[in-house]
Symmetry: C2
C-alpha cells in the first residue's frame, strides 16, 4: 500500500496538507452513501432513511498502549476495531470513520504509514470508509481519536437500558484472552528491560496475543442477528471486563442478574496462561477487559435459536432488581458481582 519502508521522511518536510494528501491517496471509498470523503471542510454522508449511530474513542500512548511492544500497524487496526465494536453493540452497521491523530516529531512519515496501513486494513475488512479527520503534531506521545458512524432502522437499534427480568444473558466468543495476552507482553517487556539481548518468548500464545493486539469486532454476530431476524432486547460491548458491562446493563435496565461462573466461555490458551500467572481465569474474564465481545439480553422464547450456536453462549439470566447482581460460583455459592474494570485515571 505504501512504499519506501526503509527511508525516514520527516513529517515537517511534508507539512499537514502534504500528509493529508499522502494518506488520501491510499483511501478507497466503498459506500455510495459516502457522498464526500477527505478533502473538504467536512465529509458528506447519506443516511438512506436510516437512523445514525455515532461513537467515539480516544487512545493515548502510555495509557492505552505501549509502543515498545505494540506494532503501529496493529495499533491502527485496533483503534478502528474498538470503535466499530461500539456500533455493532447498537445492532447497527458501521459505514464511515474519521481519524484524528496527534504525533510528535519522533514519528517519521513511514511510521505514520504503518499506522494508517492498519487503519485502512480494518476499513477494508469491515467495509468502512475513512472519510475525514485531522492530523497534528504533539508535544509528547501519540494520540488517536476515532469517530465511527453507523446506520440502522430505528426498530432494530438495541440500547443498554431495555433488559427485562427472566431474559437470558448471552455473550459472544470467549473472555479474558486479551487480558492474558497483555500479561504475556508485559512479562516479555520486563525480561527485555533486564536483559536487552533476550529474545521474547511468545510461542504458544498466538490466540491471546491476537486478542490483545488485533481484536476483531463482532461483525459476524451482527450479521447472524440479521440473518436470524433476531433482535436482542439489550446490548453492550465488553470493553472493560464482563462484570462491569453486566452491571451497566443491570443498572440502566433496573434489573438484577444471576451469572453462572461455569458458563463463562474461556479459551484453553487463556486458562493455561492464567494458571501459569496464578490468575483465576474467571477473574481475567470478569475484570480483564478489552475483549470486544457482544453482551446481550434475549427473550426466553429465543433460547432455541442460540442454545447450540457456536458464536454465542448463554451465561445467565436477568432477575428482579431486588435480587441484586450475583455470580453463582462453580460450587454453587453466591457472590455479589462487582466491577473491577479499568480506571484510566488511577
Amino acid at each position: 500500500m505504501f512504499e519506501n519502508k526503509d527511508n525516514r521522511t520527516e513529517l515537517s518536510e511534508l507539512g499537514e496538507f502534504g500528509l493529508i494528501n499522502h494518506i488520501k491517496e491510499s483511501v478507497i471509498i466503498q459506500h455510495k452513501s459516502t457522498l464526500k470523503g477527505i478533502g473538504d471542510d467536512a465529509a458528506v454522508l447519506d443516511a438512506e432513511n436510516k437512523k445514525i449511530v455515532v461513537s467515539t474513542d480516544m487512545l493515548v500512548e502510555g495509557v492505552h498502549f505501549d509502543l515498545s511492544y505494540v506494532p503501529l500497524r496493529h495499533l491502527g487496526y485496533k483503534a478502528v476495531s474498538v470503535n466499530l465494536s461500539d456500533i455493532y453493540a447498537m445492532n447497527a452497521e458501521p459505514k464511515q470513520i474519521t481519524v484524528s491523530i496527534a504525533l510528535s516529531n519522533r514519528f517519521s512519515l513511514e511510521a505514520v504509514e504503518e499506522l494508517y496501513s492498519g487503519i485502512l486494513l480494518a476499513c477494508k475488512n469491515y467495509n468502512v470508509d475513512l472519510v475525514g479527520g485531522d492530523t497534528t503534531s504533539s508535544t509528547s506521545g501519540l494520540v488517536i481519536s476515532i469517530t465511527a458512524i453507523g446506520y440502522a432502522e430505528e426498530k432494530n437499534i438495541v440500547y443498554r437500558n431495555t433488559a427485562k427480568e427472566n431474559q437470558l444473558l448471552v455473550v459472544s466468543g470467549d473472555l479474558g484472552g486479551a487480558y492474558m495476552g497483555l500479561q504475556v507482553l508485559e512479562r516479555e517487556k520486563s525480561v527485555f528491560m533486564e536483559s536487552p539481548k533476550a529474545q521474547p518468548d511468545l510461542e504458544g500464545n498466538d490466540y491471546i496475543l491476537e486478542r490483545q493486539l488485533k481484536p476483531e469486532p463482532r461483525a459476524d454476530v451482527f450479521r447472524m442477528f440479521k440473518d436470524m431476524k433476531l433482535v436482542p432486547t439489550a446490548m453492550i460491548d465488553v470493553s472493560d471486563g464482563l462484570a462491569s458491562e453486566i452491571l451497566h446493563l443491570c443498572t440502566q435496565s433496573g434489573v438484577g442478574v444471576e451469572l453462572y461462573e461455569s458458563k463463562i466461555p474461556l479459551d484453553p490458551q487463556t486458562v493455561d496462561r492464567a494458571m501459569e500467572f496464578s490468575i483465576d481465569p474467571t477473574v481475567a474474564a470478569l475484570s480483564g477487559g478489552e475483549d470486544y465481545e457482544l453482551l446481550f439480553a434475549l427473550d426466553l422464547a429465543d433460547y432455541d435459536k442460540v442454545k447450540n450456536n457456536p458464536l454465542v453462549t448463554v451465561i445467565g439470566h436477568f432477575t428482579a432488581q431486588s435480587n441484586g447482581c450475583s455470580l453463582i460460583a462453580k460450587d454453587n455459592s453466591r457472590h455479589e458481582l462487582k466491577a473491577q474494570g479499568w480506571n484510566s485515571f488511577k
Copy 2:
C-alpha cells in the same frame, strides 16, 4: 452550572464513569433529532431526510493552545467553535457534537468543569447537543478532539471545488484579528516570564483578544444565506489564513483568482496593533489564521445581494486557471498569492 469552585477534587476519586455521569448531568438535549445522547455505546441521531455533514478537529496543548494564558472555559468554547465553523462552511446546520478529552492528573475535577462549562456554553449559543465522547487520562498535556455533525439538503451543500471563472470572491467579517490577539498574549507572557509580578497590559485589545480566545463561528452568515435564498457556489472557512484558503478554493476548483489588497476587511484594532508590532496588517490577514470567517464564491448575478451587506465583503474575483492566483496590491502591482499558513509539524 457547576458548583464548588474552590475545592480540588481529584479525577482518580471519580474514575471515568463518575466523570462521565458528572458531565452528563449538565447536558441538556435541545434537538428532537437527538434520539439518544450520552449513556450508551453510541449516540443515535435522526437525519430527518437531510444529508449528514461530519467534521472533526483535534487541539493539543503546547501546539494549539497555551494554558498559561488561555482560560479553560474559553478553550472549551473555542474547541466547539472551530468545529461548527467547518459545518457552516458546508452551508449545513450543526446539531450535535461529541467531545473526547485526554487529561493528566494535574487537572482537577474543577478544571474539567471549567473546560466543559465553555463547551456547554458554545452548545447553548449555537443550539447544538453534546451527545457523546470519551474521557481518558493523558501522560502529559491536554488533548481535545471534537466531532461536529450537521445536516443540509443535498442541493444546498457547498463544496470547495465548485468555484467558477468570473465569480466573486467574498469573505465574512474581518481578518487578521485573531493573529494580532495572539501576538499581544505572547508579548504579555514574555513580560510575565521576565517579571512575574507585572500585571498583563491587555487594555484596548478586547476585540482582537476575543477573536483569538473566543472565536464565534458564522452562524449568522449561514442564516443570512438561508433567509436570502442565496447559495454560494463554493465555500471554505478561514482557519489557516486567507491566502491558504483562497488557494485551496482555486486548486480544488481549477481556477485562478485576483484578490484586491485594498478590499481585505480589517478591524481598526487589528491595524493599530499590527503597526505597533511592525507587522503589515495585510500579512496578518493573509497568513495569520484562526479567523474562522467564511470565504466563498458567488455568481456575479448575486452581486446586488451582497454589495452593501455589513456581514460580508467582496474582495476579488475568480479568473481562468492560466491567469494564476494574484494579489493586486494597493499600488496596483501584481504579486503571486502564496500560502504561509501554519504547519503544526514545523
